[in-house]
Symmetry: D2
């Protein structure tokens, strides 16, 4: 088999290097957010970049056992007591476009809008207005806006404030802010949800759209480990009983 | 269905709190390692505790595509291009007692040795000697010692030095160090591997044995996101060809 | 990399053979239960063996959305709409010693009892009595007996009757039947659950203990695909709301 | 929490019914393929339908350890020895549009072509010609045609012959056959691969497009259990060594 090529880690009997840096130096001198930035972007972050990626990780780490990711992890922990990794993995599997992963869709929208603005000499506010009009015409939801629970997600303002304070805010934050304003005008007032906020800042940090999902996954994995640990520590196996209503065919014979 | 109880996260329409702390305050004032400590241990760490948990997370974040976790993630990314979470989850599934999870076994051994020492008024060095003798008698491998690749894992010394510098080192570090010495005397010289080092320090940080696996999972999830991102960015789907030798029954008819 | 050896499938540009048989001949001349038997046992089954393995597969195929496996699959389908395989995989992850996998434990118990009976010239009824006495002394549950829902699992009698009718019943069925009788005498009346019934028959079909889990997994995978299909067809994304009670620390500041 | 509604299984303390049929009657009187048909389509199949679905299941059950699904399962079995379900689940996660799941894409194409033919009074051959022309114009691959390994997949002819013999063949088989002919004329000769064959027959059996993936998953789960069993039985943990070429940044200091 051909060797698998990689530009991320080089390991031999004596050393392990991530993107060229000795892992021992990183253990002493870099935060976990720094290393995640390094793994994905190939360089260590500036302090402001590190603060923002750290805030994103904290913001997405956990949301309680009611979130599909946490609930799936706990269900698996309930039936399969012998594998902690099975439970955490099930939680990660629940992350998709509908839960935790809409940041990727929002980042694609930002990238397309930025390209459109550059091509047609539009402002980002004009590009946002077009995106809202197009979504309204097609009856599509705009990724990054709206939330089932949080009328005004407290995490968004903090992320955007931090992005501005640290000089990280750029086209991503500007576009998503303009998108919300245009949606309020053309559709209805909608909060910027955590997916949209995270997408705006990750875009401004130079991450590609896939990172909208991947960074959320890296963050939520931490929370899932705690949810699974609590399930093992506090609950008996098989304690979860889902109520079911059968509405299929009546009893019949072969 | 009964409500699921939890002591980790409380979320409503206006706020999200982790162990009582507003998530927005944590986003500004806590590192990801702090929050992981908080999620698992119910309190924020002291600076030395935070430095150690951060170092553990960095040490386990990635080890290159040859590790089973990273290889499994890349294989899944190769066949299933549409789900990033499927690929990361597959990587996590490869974590078990044989790969990345032996820290849990080592933590159980430490806990048993500490209990034995307390019960029988032994020193930890004496308890370590007994553990080595018992493993030798049964032909069992000692969790935390030995490695396929790293003759002298560079991460161990750094973790133990940091644990001593920050005043975190206690029974865990002492026992695993004594275990290595006893093994060298009674069996053969073996390095303390990353599982053993991580187990010693997590024990001294007050984590239960399950954390040996769970903290490794939280760390490796980060590396897996980068491995999957690189697979998508650099490689075509279905590029992996495993060579196979068939040695089963010859052709035959029904 | 060294080639991976296998005795199961040989495939080249022109043919695919399973255990030596052309897959095209199997497609026409073998049932899925036959092929599963062939994959695991290396030969095609006798008609009675095939009928029994088929009955086991049918018995375990689905148990409704309340079972942890089905519930986990639906939760993941609810959050991650883009990957059908993620949802089915999450359902499989919920299968463990506590749910669907106790057949492996029961098969190990049967194998140990059979070895004990041979070694000490005991009848299987005597070996069963010893197993019950030991479990009672240790306060352990006996794998294969008892059920949360089914006071008298209807599947057990059918499997055992079929095993006797087809001449498949041997030490496995005899031992588990004796185990139930001894438990009724020494502990309390307990039904033989599906795990115990499946274990007895799989043992008599010559499968090793791991098959207790693996055959259940192969069967349940079928049901999971239907549960996931129904979730996609009938339900909106993110429709599942788990009620949560927070009982952790009160609000506090950093 | 609201009860989860389902039309598939009804279970209580005394009985389990699938789509209204007692599971005990199905265990005696139905094949596994029958039950899978029943689970998905809500009725038992005619004998010809059953034979076809059985042949599809057999055709997709296993393809040797080199397939990404089987390789991922073995890698996970190599690192995580304690969870059989983790290994099988990882194998299922590798199934996607690129591996094993293209049947869903092919079924969508068939459904669209059939709708187009009805709407514009075209023959299926004309609709196939349009589909090929459109794919050629866009540089897209046609789902269901072409294969990396099998120049002439032996499974396709058997499935199509059986579909005709049993009177199951209809628009699906007709369209895919016409698609191949049109591709040979307009692009180049390409075999109908197993995804395309399976898609054609599942369409003619009345399954929706999602079944292209789901039925493959149900089939491959069986093969994965055998691959995992062989890995456990024949191989040591951590035996897999992936060769790696690092081409990232050279060593550097923080």
């Amino acid at each position: 088999m051909d060797a698998w090529r990689t530009g991320i880690v080089a390991a031999d009997a004596e050393t392990i290097r991530i993107r060229g840096y000795e892992i021992t130096a990183l253990m002493r001198g870099a935060s976990f957010a720094d290393v995640l930035f390094l793994l994905h972007r190939g360089r260590l972050p500036q302090p402001g970049e590190s603060a923002l990626l750290n805030a994103i990780l904290v913001s997405a780490a956990d949301h309680g056992p009611g979130a599909p990711s946490c609930a799936a992890a706990r269900l698996v922990a309930s039936g399969n007591r012998e594998s902690l990794s099975a439970a955490v993995a099930a939680g990660i599997l629940a992350i998709g476009n509908e839960h935790g992963g809409a940041g990727s869709l929002a980042m694609e929208m930002i990238a397309q809008a930025a390209a459109l603005a550059a091509r047609e000499h539009l402002s980002l506010a004009q590009a946002a207005e077009r995106a809202v009009a197009a979504a309204r015409a097609d009856g599509r939801r705009l990724p990054g806006l709206g939330h089932r629970v949080h009328r005004n997600d407290p995490r968004t303002a903090v992320l955007f404030d931090m992005a501005r304070e640290h000089g990280v805010a750029a086209a991503g934050v500007e576009f998503v802010t303009a998108l919300q304003a245009a949606a309020a005008r053309l559709i209805k007032p909608l909060p910027i949800n955590i997916d949209g906020a995270l997408a705006a800042v990750l875009y401004d940090l130079g991450f590609p759209p896939a990172a909208g999902k991947l960074i959320f996954i890296a963050a939520r994995a931490a929370g899932l480990t705690a949810e699974v640990a609590e399930e093992h520590a506090r609950e008996k196996p098989m304690r979860i009983h889902i109520p079911v209503d059968y509405d299929g065919p009546p009893p019949r014979s072969l």
